[in-house]
Each structure stands twice: as structure tokens, then as C-alpha cells.
């Protein structure tokens, strides 16, 4: 084989390797795919409008009981520890822990909006609870906190959000579903629900809400799923 062919082959292999590393499905947040992911993140943030609401669905659209998927990463349904409290902290004037009773005394919001899962399915339930924006007001969240991080007792499942999405009027800390108190399978005693994000951003089994100056990650986001995940 002539040297020239060898060189050409090496160049081709090098180009293929470069293309492969730039588009590595296992690391979609790196290389060219990662650059496009950051571009898409900015595009999504630009498209997001803080007062644009997800449409309210009619009752007939409710997903039949039992068909709304339950999701947790623990082997069995996570159960709230005795004396459960929601810790709210970070860049806030009055950090404190709320019991469920105390959260119920904050203004209640009801909505029946479509759930969009990253897998491609959709489902509809009605949710009630307290808006994250009302909670932010109650603790005096600093406007410089551009991000909000939610953590859970489901093996530490967590996700961080951009503040505009977290403070959207349809982003709630839900303690009820379809008119009844939230059941353990759907994230009791308290879960995040929102009309403006994909399902994996909605942390169930909440323990902590922190207002932060920087984005952290998330259970799925750390494995390569997109961080913004707006709908």
C-alpha cells in the first residue's frame, strides 16, 4: 500500500473520529451536539413568556384513573418521613420550614393542564397547591436568585430551574390531584407541577426549595438530558 493511500485513510479516519466525538450520543451535552443544546436552551428561554399560560383542559380530557403514570426512582414508593417539613432557603430574607398545614394556609391555586413527558406521551390531571411565586413572596426571595433548585426524599432526585419558569403562575407545589389529597404514588406529600416544563423537571416527594444565584443540575440533566426542558 502506498504511503499516500495510508495518509488519505488516516485523514478520513481522523475526520470520522472528529465527527464522532462532536456528535456523541452518550454525551449529548458535549461537542457539536452540546453547542446546539446550548443554542436550543437560549432559543427556548427567548421563546418562553412569563405570562403565557398553558391552556386549561376540559373535564373530558382527564386521563382515566390509573392511566396517569406514577414515577419515582426508588425501588418502592417513597414514603414521607415522620415530621416532614419543606425547607425553603438560599437567597431569601426569611428562610424557614413549612409543615403541610402551613403550606395549605398560603393561597391555593387550581389548574387542569396537559402534562408532557420527555418520552412523548401526554396526560391530563387537575392539580392544586401553592404557587412557587407565592412561596417566594412568603420567604422574601431575592430577585437576584436567577434559579430555583428542588430536592426530594426519592433517593435525592432533584432538578434546578430558571427562576422565570419556576415563578410562572402555573408552576405550583401541589398537595392535591384530581380534587383529592396527593397519594404517595404521585409524589405525596408535596410535588412540583408545572404547565411549562417536561415531566422530569417536576420533582416529586419534595424536601427542599432553594433560591440560588446559579443553576445546579438535576438527576436526569446530569445524565445528559437537556436542562431547560421547556414546553
Amino acid at each position: 500500500m502506498s504511503e499516500r493511500v495510508l495518509t488519505r485513510r488516516r485523514v478520513l479516519l481522523g475526520a470520522a473520529a472528529l465527527a464522532t466525538s462532536a456528535c456523541d450520543s452518550q454525551r449529548p451535552r458535549a461537542g457539536f451536539l452540546g453547542a446546539m443544546d446550548r443554542f436550543n436552551e437560549r432559543a427556548q428561554a427567548t421563546l418562553f413568556h412569563p405570562t403565557r399560560l398553558a391552556p386549561e383542559e376540559p373535564v373530558e380530557q382527564l386521563t382515566p384513573p390509573g392511566d396517569f403514570p406514577q414515577y419515582f426512582i426508588s425501588d418502592t414508593v417513597p414514603l414521607a418521613p415522620a415530621g416532614w417539613r419543606l425547607e425553603v432557603g438560599g437567597l431569601v430574607a426569611r428562610p424557614r420550614a413549612f409543615s403541610l398545614e402551613e403550606l395549605r394556609q398560603l393561597p391555593r391555586t387550581d389548574s387542569r393542564i396537559r402534562h408532557h413527558c420527555v418520552e412523548g406521551w401526554s396526560a391530563v390531571a387537575s392539580w392544586h397547591g401553592v404557587r412557587v411565586s407565592d412561596l417566594a413572596r412568603a420567604v422574601g426571595a431575592d430577585p437576584r436568585a436567577g434559579f430555583v433548585e428542588f430536592r426530594s426524599f426519592d433517593q435525592g432526585y432533584y432538578s434546578s430551574w430558571d427562576a422565570p419558569s419556576a415563578l410562572h403562575p402555573q408552576t405550583v407545589l401541589a398537595y392535591g390531584m384530581n380534587g383529592a389529597p396527593l397519594i404517595p404514588g404521585h409524589g405525596a406529600p408535596l410535588r412540583l407541577y408545572s404547565g411549562v416544563k417536561l415531566g422530569y423537571k417536576m420533582v416529586k416527594y419534595l424536601t427542599t426549595v432553594r433560591f440560588l444565584p446559579e443553576a445546579t443540575g438535576g438527576t436526569w440533566e446530569d445524565r445528559g438530558y437537556e436542562w431547560f426542558a421547556g414546553v
Binding site: 403565557r52 386521563t63 396517569f68 420527555v118 418520552e119 412523548g120
Partner: protein
């Protein structure tokens, strides 16, 4: 610029956008099928669509790209922009160059010839006289492919942003119908591609023209 009928059959912007479609459509189709694997059903949870005959059927692994859901989504949303951009460049070129006149299907001009050409392919009638670059049936096919491509991008945006672009999602009948239409368009584009490749194989001269541009017609 020369008037279209004095131009080479395939000017370079046509060739460029045509060949860019090949890798772009392949990447989007294959990564789309990998995304479908995550939930291979149509219709909302608990209410599967009766019109979809392939509930739970998995596309074969050799047709997929991206290894897993997050990888496939990254491919899909990275290259979707380039497909849309390619389509915009193509349409702008058609409009500004006047090429649309010899390529797009105009019902009043082309219907009769499209029917005659179809009758010829079905062995019902002799070949109609070929005038100009394309016959009516070709114009119909290429115009349909362009519309299907545009609808693919739009239905894709409708399921990518069903809240921020809810007016678009509503035009497709809602989130789940839009997702179904997005998949249907993939099937239709795949069928177009098969027919296109078969007909090009039967008329190899057109393949060369799409690479070299072909000769200018004698004046």
C-alpha cells in the same frame, strides 16, 4: 440572471439544497425513530388512537440514531434547524430566481399533464409529449415533497413547544394529533423517497444532472 428556460437544468443552489437534504432527512428520520421508541404509541395516555395500526411496534434498531432518548433528542433538535434552514434557502431561491415556474405544480397549467403522465405510467396511454424540464406529475411530486417537509418542521415545532407555540399545536388539532401527523409525514416522505429513487434509477440522466448541473439548452 438568465430566464429559467435558458438555464442549466439544475442550477447550483438547487443541487446544494437537494443534496443537503440527504444527510439531514436521514439524521432526522433515524433520530426521530429512536425518540419514538421511548413511547411507541399514538394518542394520549389511557386513550390510544384507533387510527394508528402500529401501537407498541418498535422500529428496528438499524433504522435508529442516537442510542437513547436524550442522545436522539439532541441529534433531532440540533439538525432540525438545518433542515428548516435548507428549506428556507430553497424556497427563497425558487422565488427570487423564477425557478418556481418550471418546478412547482400549478393546478391550472399542470393537472392535465399530470393525469396524462400517470396514465402513461399505468400503461393506459402513450407517453405525453415532454415539454420543458418537468412534466406535470413530477411537478406535483416535488411540490408535495416540499409541502410535506414544511409540515414536518411545523408539526415538529408544535410538539416541541406545545405551550409556547400553542396556536401552532392547535392548528394540528392538539399535542397528540400533532405527534401523530409528525410520524405520518415521516412515512409519506419515506414513500416519496423510495419512488423518487426508483424513478431516478430508471432515468439515470437526471441523476447526472443533479450532480453536474447538466447542459444549457441549445439556443
Amino acid at each position: 440572471m438568465h430566464p429559467p428556460e435558458r438555464r442549466r437544468p439544475q442550477p447550483w443552489p438547487i443541487r446544494l439544497t437537494h443534496w443537503a437534504n440527504v444527510p439531514l432527512l436521514a439524521i432526522l428520520a433515524a433520530s426521530g425513530l429512536q425518540i419514538l421508541v421511548a413511547y411507541p404509541r399514538m394518542g394520549p395516555r389511557g386513550r390510544p388512537f384507533a387510527v394508528y395500526p402500529f401501537q407498541d411496534a418498535m422500529p428496528p434498531s438499524w433504522l435508529r440514531l442516537g442510542d437513547w432518548l436524550a442522545g436522539a433528542r439532541s441529534w433531532h433538535f440540533a439538525f432540525g434547524w438545518f433542515l428548516a434552514l435548507n428549506g428556507v434557502v430553497y424556497v427563497l431561491y425558487l422565488a427570487l430566481s423564477g425557478e418556481w415556474r418550471r418546478r412547482l405544480f400549478l393546478p391550472r397549467r399542470d393537472t392535465r399533464d399530470a393525469v396524462a403522465t400517470l396514465a402513461y405510467y399505468l400503461r393506459l396511454r402513450p407517453a405525453p409529449a415532454q415539454v420543458g424540464l418537468y412534466n406535470g406529475l413530477q411537478r406535483l411530486a416535488y411540490t408535495a415533497a416540499l409541502i410535506m417537509g414544511a409540515l414536518s418542521v411545523l408539526s415538529g415545532l408544535a410538539i416541541y413547544k406545545p405551550v409556547q407555540l400553542q396556536w401552532l399545536t392547535a392548528l394540528f388539532g392538539g399535542y397528540d394529533p400533532a405527534r401523530f401527523i409528525h410520524l405520518l409525514l415521516l412515512v409519506l416522505l419515506a414513500l416519496f423517497t423510495v419512488g423518487h429513487v426508483v424513478l431516478v434509477a430508471l432515468h439515470p440522466r437526471t441523476f447526472g444532472e443533479m450532480i453536474t448541473g447538466g447542459r444549457k439548452p441549445d439556443v
